[in-house]
């Protein structure tokens, strides 16, 4: 061991304070970590390739899958195919996609015992919390965008772009249909952010990546089940699975956007509650492991 740099260590305190890193540094660090993980790359590649495979397989079926909305047109209409994949993805694929990253992002620090490593630098818990949250949300949105683009492109190329029969029996010309299908996919952003925040909460709370990933998906399925039951439909506006169906109004004539507004309120409510709880838990937590 040589001792070249050991001699200079009297860094003035004021200097350190002046250079205290902001959210940007933490964001840069968190996204760098995310990008170097294999699972991130696998998810992004999957989001591009899986829709292609699904579209090709569904298209080759002799009978269209009629039990999902737009399924009956899926084998001969590309827009219907893209909406069928959307309906299917929103059941559990979208919550899972975001939870794989968001459910792990806090818990992995516990798994690797690295909380004490990062929290003994000059970045506060709050800064790290918001950096991780922002990175998880950004990842969810990027994944959704890739999935949507890939699905729409694959459906267009494999099945075609004929005029679409909407949910009020109206015929929607191809260019309008494309915009509406893209809009329907875009409306997934709200519940996906909600599920991301839910996964973040589980990640902070359980300190266990498996729980962080599985719990939001299971909870999503439970909410879907509860939402489908008759007699307790007043619960529907409070369920995070309901916003996944808000796009239906876009494909009706006349269009209705009330559910999209509800979706905004519901998703924002879940996000705020989950993030607040996660933030408080992390702030108050004693880091004893690692």
């Amino acid at each position: 061991m040589t001792s070249t740099t050991v001699q200079r260590h009297r860094a003035p305190v004021v200097d350190a304070a002046a250079h205290r890193p902001g959210l940007g540094a933490a964001l840069s660090w968190e996204s760098r970590k995310l990008r170097s993980q294999l699972r991130t790359k696998a998810l992004l590649v999957g989001a591009v390739l899986a829709p292609l495979a699904v579209v090709v397989i569904v298209h080759s079926q002799p009978r269209p899958p009629k039990d999902t909305l737009f399924g009956r047109f899926a084998t001969d209409n590309g827009f219907a195919m893209a909406l069928l994949v959307l309906g299917f993805a929103s059941q559990w694929v979208l919550p899972l996609l975001t939870a794989v990253v968001a459910g792990d992002i806090f818990a992995s620090e516990d798994q690797h015992g690295t909380w004490k490593t990062v929290l003994t630098r000059s970045t506060s818990r709050s800064t790290l919390f918001w950096a991780k949250t922002a990175v998880a949300v950004a990842f969810a949105l990027v994944t959704l965008a890739l999935l949507a683009a890939s699905t729409i492109a694959a459906s267009w190329l494999v099945v075609g772009h004929q005029p679409l029969t909407g949910l009020s029996g109206q015929v929607v010309p191809a260019h309008t249909a494309l915009a509406l299908v893209a809009g329907a996919w875009a409306s997934m952003a709200l519940p996906i952010i909600g599920f991301t925040c839910l996964a973040l909460l589980f990640s902070v709370w359980s300190r266990n990546a498996a729980v962080g990933i599985a719990a939001p998906v299971v909870l999503g399925l439970v909410m879907q089940l509860v939402g489908a039951l008759g007699g307790i439909e007043t619960l529907r506006p409070f369920l995070l699975s309901t916003p996944f169906e808000a796009w239906h109004g876009l494909l009706a004539a006349p269009r209705f956007t009330g559910p999209l507004l509800d979706s905004l309120v519901t998703s924002a409510g879940w996000s705020v509650v989950c993030l607040t709880a996660a933030y408080l838990i992390l702030r108050r937590r004693d880091i004893t492991g690692g």
Binding site: A17, A25, D286
Partner: protein
């Protein structure tokens, strides 16, 4: 109330307590570390050393009491408390899927500062801890000793005025321990304030100016290594002769100031000052006894350490009776 940073103590803990349910991990601990000092916290595992260091770093919040670092507290300065402070707690941990250099780069990001100086400093600290050449490997493939050294590198990256090292030699092989001690000594010699925790007396004895010995969350001794030496008991020696009975008799008759007892595991144990033992041994030889073994049992400080920490363990009955010897 708050002292300006430049005149403040490096570390000042006042009446710090942390409980986990019924277990009192740290029990009304007070200590102060002056700037430039090399300070040891000694204690067996579970004594509360690590819990205290975690409170210093803000990883754990004390139930009561305050910890000041260069005059700042977590309550008033937040993460600013850690300006000029670096170190690691228990074994340093890194992201196994990143390389050593990537880990350091990330931590440097979290330290702030500009990009150019960060990269230069990383080269420097890698050199210091002898990891240059391995920095491109994933940490997953590092040995325990390499991770320990990467931990030191990550700490030096912060250009600390206070370096906190928790059991830095833990888990290292003898060569690694030697290197680590040499490094700590060199860092200490460079004028850094070092707070070192250990459960080995000899590790602390060599380099520390002052020590706190902890047991069961409480202070068992508090003071300088000199004070500690003065308190140390006479060294014990294992003794074996051609006629142990005669040797015992000789001690009783001519050397009342040393104690010679039969050791249950065979041979004799002689306790007394060095000079008096030498005189006794000379008398044994003069009495034509053949000296077969004469070896020290423990170093005096080790003996004292065990005495301090064990006694406390034995006499403790849940009351906070005796506070540390130095209080």
């Amino acid at each position: 109330m708050q002292t300006p940073p430049h005149t403040a103590l490096a570390v000042e803990a006042v009446d710090v307590t942390k409980r986990y349910g019924d277990l009192v991990a740290v029990d009304h601990l007070s200590l102060s570390v002056a700037p430039g000092e090399v300070y040891g916290i000694l204690g067996p595992n579970g004594a509360g050393k690590t819990t205290f260091l975690r409170m210093l770093f803000g990883l754990i919040r004390p139930d009561s009491g305050t910890v000041r670092v260069f005059g700042r507290t977590w309550a008033d300065s937040g993460v600013g408390v850690l300006d000029g402070v670096a170190g690691f707690i228990e074994s340093p941990r890194f992201y196994p899927y990143l390389t050593g250099r990537q880990n350091l780069e990330g931590l440097a990001l979290l330290d702030g500062g500009d990009r150019g100086s960060r990269s230069r400093r990383i080269e420097g600290v890698l050199d210091v801890v002898d990891l240059a050449g391995r920095e491109g490997d994933k940490v997953a493939g590092y040995s325990y000793g390499m991770r320990q050294r990467l931990g030191v590198a990550a700490s030096l990256l912060r250009d600390p005025r206070l370096l906190v090292l928790d059991e830095p030699a833990n888990g290292l092989d003898p060569g690694g321990i030697r290197d680590m001690r040499a490094l700590v000594t060199r860092l200490a010699d460079s004028g850094l304030t070092v707070l070192l925790s250990s459960h080995h007396m000899d590790e602390v004895e060599e380099i520390c100016d002052n020590v706190t010995i902890m047991a069961r969350g409480q202070v068992a001794f508090h003071g300088s290594i000199g004070d500690l030496r003065a308190m140390a008991p006479d060294p014990g020696h294992l003794l074996s002769t051609s006629d142990d009975a005669l040797a015992v008799a000789l001690a009783r008759e001519q050397h009342p100031d040393i104690a010679v007892e039969t050791d249950p595991e065979g041979g004799l144990v002689a306790i007394g000052s060095r000079e008096r033992l030498s005189a006794y041994v000379a008398d044994l030889v003069r009495a034509d006894l053949e000296l077969r073994q004469f070896t020290p049992t423990q170093t005096p400080l080790e003996a004292l350490f065990f005495m301090l920490t064990d006694t406390r363990t034995d006499t403790r009955t849940g009351t906070r009776s005796a506070k540390g010897a130095g209080r």
